[in-house]
Amino acid sequence: MFPSKVTTVEDAVRHLKTGMTLMSGGFQCCGIPETLLKAVSGTDAADLTVITLSTALKGRGTGILIHEGKVRKLYVSHIGSNTETVEKTLNGELECVFVPQGTLAERIRAGGSGLGGILTPTGLGTPIADGKEILTVNGKEYLLELPLHADIAFIHAWKADTMGNLAYHYSARNYNPLMAMAADFVIAEAETIVEAGELGPDEIETPACVVDVVVQGEPVRARWEV
């Protein structure tokens, strides 16, 4: 029997150190590992590079880290709903690298799958292509986009078992299963933690072998519950 990976939130976030690259799952306020993100506030981790779809709203999701000034560089697809991220980017406090949403997914997938990059038509003829290699395959042009990998990933799961297997719920999947593959150390917060064996093979989407620790998440707060 594998030992339980369940630990406290405080113990889990201690792995995040100054200067590290952090991936954080979620789409807007859906499927965000907010218990972990809030707990980072209490640590001295700073100067972070964060890879995330969006910075949600001011003070929500990775917007918490933006608010606390813990982020130096952001790989992100959309910041429009967080005025604070927009301001900090415009005044130069934050370096913001915009990545098209589908390209972000594939770069993370590549980072977790041992691929050297992906070829995509997305962004051809736009500023996103500047400085990137263009390859022609069967007469069609593609941009070469490189893998993304992180030191730590924060994952939001619906259920986790004590071994670290993860299951997701509805559209709270988004980037979570992809990021769980693409970091050296993977921390999952789950809405519910169950005993080993309670999640069946068909329910598990992320295998326990890629998850390092599991913590109990606080109740989820939707955008409309702000």
């Binding site: 859906c30 429009g80 589908g102 997914a105 003829g125």
Partner: protein, 217 residues
């Protein structure tokens, strides 16, 4: 009826049973309100839902069912959920029939600019660049002119592009315009305007379809 409602109503008439449709951020999400309820359309939501439904009644929200704007949504019979790689495989892979997006500018080559105004607006492109690169039809749904009355249909986009040569149709409150290899073709015109007025409010040259139809909302 205001301009946005006219645009949404006209776009809503394009779809046929079985079409896969992605409605972009902002005004296009309202198109769903005008699609006849008896049409079986697969509404795709980039956050990972095929089979998106209307906003739920207050109290029926599920925090794990949202639309691309982050607001509460519902799922129709047969809907399914998936991660973002699958979501954009569907989008990029040619499995979406129609993408409807707003635009700052469109030009006669079908170039689209809708994601940034350097130094002023830096929201990010979200899924727009992927959507326009993979959908079979890309509809720019937008007011014919900007707030100051300047044409948004240009000879050449001045703003950074979201996609090059991607727009297939433009729908405004005044006109429905096809993007063709020969240039922009005015196919339908609103009842309360004239070809001369549409030409005056459009920077790019317009070819006129025969016959030229009246837009129906």
């Amino acid at each position: 009826m205001d301009a946005k409602e006219k645009i949404c109503r006209r776009v809503a008439k394009m779809f046929r049973t079985g079409d896969v449709v992605n409605l972009g951020f902002g005004m296009p999400t309202k198109v769903m309100d005008y699609v006849p309820k008896d049409l079986d359309i697969w509404f795709d939501s980039e956050n990972g839902i095929m089979g998106l439904g209307e906003p739920p009644a207050k109290g029926d929200e599920n925090h794990d069912v949202i639309n691309a704007m982050g607001f509460a949504a519902s799922m129709r019979l047969g809907a399914c959920c998936f991660d973002s790689a699958m979501s954009f495989a569907l989008i990029r892979g040619g499995h979406v029939d129609y993408t409807v997006l707003g635009a700052f500018e469109v030009d006669e080559s079908g170039n689209l600019a809708n994601w940034t105004i350097p130094g002023k607006r830096i929201a990010g492109m979200g899924g727009a660049m992927d959507l326009v690169s993979g959908s079979r039809h890309v509809i720019a749904a937008m007011t014919h002119t900007d707030r100051d009355g300047n044409p948004k249909i240009r000879k050449k986009c001045a703003l950074p592009l979201t996609g090059a040569g991607v727009v297939t149709q433009i729908v405004t409150e005044l006109a429905l315009i096809d993007v063709t290899p020969e240039g922009l073709v005015l196919r339908e015109i609103a009842e309360d305007t004239t070809v001369d007025e549409v030409r005056r409010l459009t920077e790019a040259p317009l070819l006129i379809a025969e016959p030229l139809d009246v837009m129906e909302w």
